[in-house]
């Protein structure tokens, strides 16, 4: 009845159950860190385009833009004890006659630690803004900050915040 095998089995089952409950609790407690009102009070961020480095039409007829912009971020409040990293990226979003939505990631960054979650920097586009066609001249483009909170265990949380918009120049460079 109380052989070694049975005791081992009981101990292992109990340990696994406890671990599962702890993982579930860690993920569940993250919900209390979610913003109750608008996300704008939660993450402080700002991004402004300071320069259009290059604006041209590729040989296949697609417009391509390279930009430089200032980014300032404060994402400290996103971090809980269950947060492994925050993946943050800046996306250009715009509408064209052909596409209802174009979302293009321009720059991304991985924040591993709460201490590094507040910074200000000047960056160039990591991925060029390439349209599916040549619709970018004079186009109004929204800059939207997206973040993806990746937990040590459990549910992943995504959110976004509209930062600013800008108009691309009317002529290629």
């Amino acid at each position: 009845m109380h052989s070694f095998g049975y005791r081992l089995n009981t101990v292992l089952t109990f340990a696994l159950l406890l671990l599962a409950v702890l993982c579930g609790a860690a993920s569940f407690l993250d919900a209390f860190n979610s913003p109750l009102s608008a996300s704008s009070s939660y993450v402080q961020a700002n991004a402004q385009v300071v320069k259009v480095n290059r604006f041209r039409r590729q040989l296949n007829g697609a417009d391509e833009v390279s930009l430089t912009f200032n980014v300032s971020l404060d994402m400290k409040r996103l971090f809980t004890w269950n947060t492994k990293q925050v993946f943050v990226f800046l996306a250009a979003e715009y509408e064209t006659p052909k596409n209802a939505l174009n979302q293009i990631s321009l720059w991304d960054h991985i924040i591993l630690d709460k201490d590094q979650a507040m910074f200000q920097t000047k960056v160039t586009t990591k991925y060029p803004l390439i349209d599916q066609g040549s619709n970018l001249r004079g186009r109004k483009v929204d800059l939207i900050l997206h973040w993806h909170v990746m937990p040590k265990t459990g549910r992943m949380i995504r959110d976004k915040l509209r930062l600013s918009d800008f108009h691309l120049p009317e002529a290629y460079t």
């Binding site: 990293q85 990226f89 006659p97 979302q103 459990g154």
Partner: protein
């Protein structure tokens, strides 16, 4: 002599009953595992609700051996989501992040470009020859939940099959010999 044959018979029937019970309980274990898996498929809408991360292309977010829970809803796919997709000519699905989305005005079809967080460039080199975008039908699901390390069990079992057979044998032996 009657009582001797009687007791022998009773022992014989007992053993048969014991074996039958073992077979039934084994069947219960197998079927309930199948029920859980199929139930998960129904709830998540994805044909493989749980996947194991095999490469380090999403580090430091996902490491080899981590488990992802997938969900497949009708919601449109947007940039920043981590999706699992199949490429024609590749057996193993890939888990990467969406970095570009173009959604058609008229049909609502989407063109998607993905990239691994830890990779230098985007995934066009991983796609089929000449393929520039992923479409909706390539996507198997989006990652919604995460559990570290558990996937190592399956990685070890697929890479060292002998351990798998040893484990199955030991479990089978335990089921057959256990008296309860």
């Amino acid at each position: 002599m009657g009582w001797l044959s009687d007791s022998l018979d009773s022992i014989r029937t007992l053993q048969i009953r014991h074996v039958l019970t073992q077979i039934v309980s084994l069947g219960m274990i197998v079927t309930s595992a199948l029920i859980i898996w199929k139930g998960l498929m129904c709830v998540t809408g994805s044909e493989s609700p749980v996947v194991v991360v095999l490469s380090g292309s999403m580090e430091p977010g996902f490491k080899r051996g981590d488990i992802l829970f997938l969900h497949m809803s009708k919601d449109p796919i947007r940039a920043g989501e981590i999706v699992v997709f199949n490429v024609d000519g590749r057996e193993i699905p890939i888990v990467h992040r969406v970095i570009k989305v173009h959604e058609r005005q008229d049909t609502g079809e989407v063109d998607i470009l993905t990239k691994g967080d830890n990779n230098f460039g985007d995934d066009r080199l991983l796609y089929a020859h000449g393929q520039l975008w992923l479409q909706r039908h390539h996507i198997m699901g989006r990652a919604v939940g995460f559990l570290p390390y558990v996937g190592w069990v399956t990685i070890i079992m697929t890479e060292k099959p002998i351990i798998k057979y040893l484990l199955i044998g030991a479990l089978g032996l335990l089921v057959i010999t256990s008296k309860e």
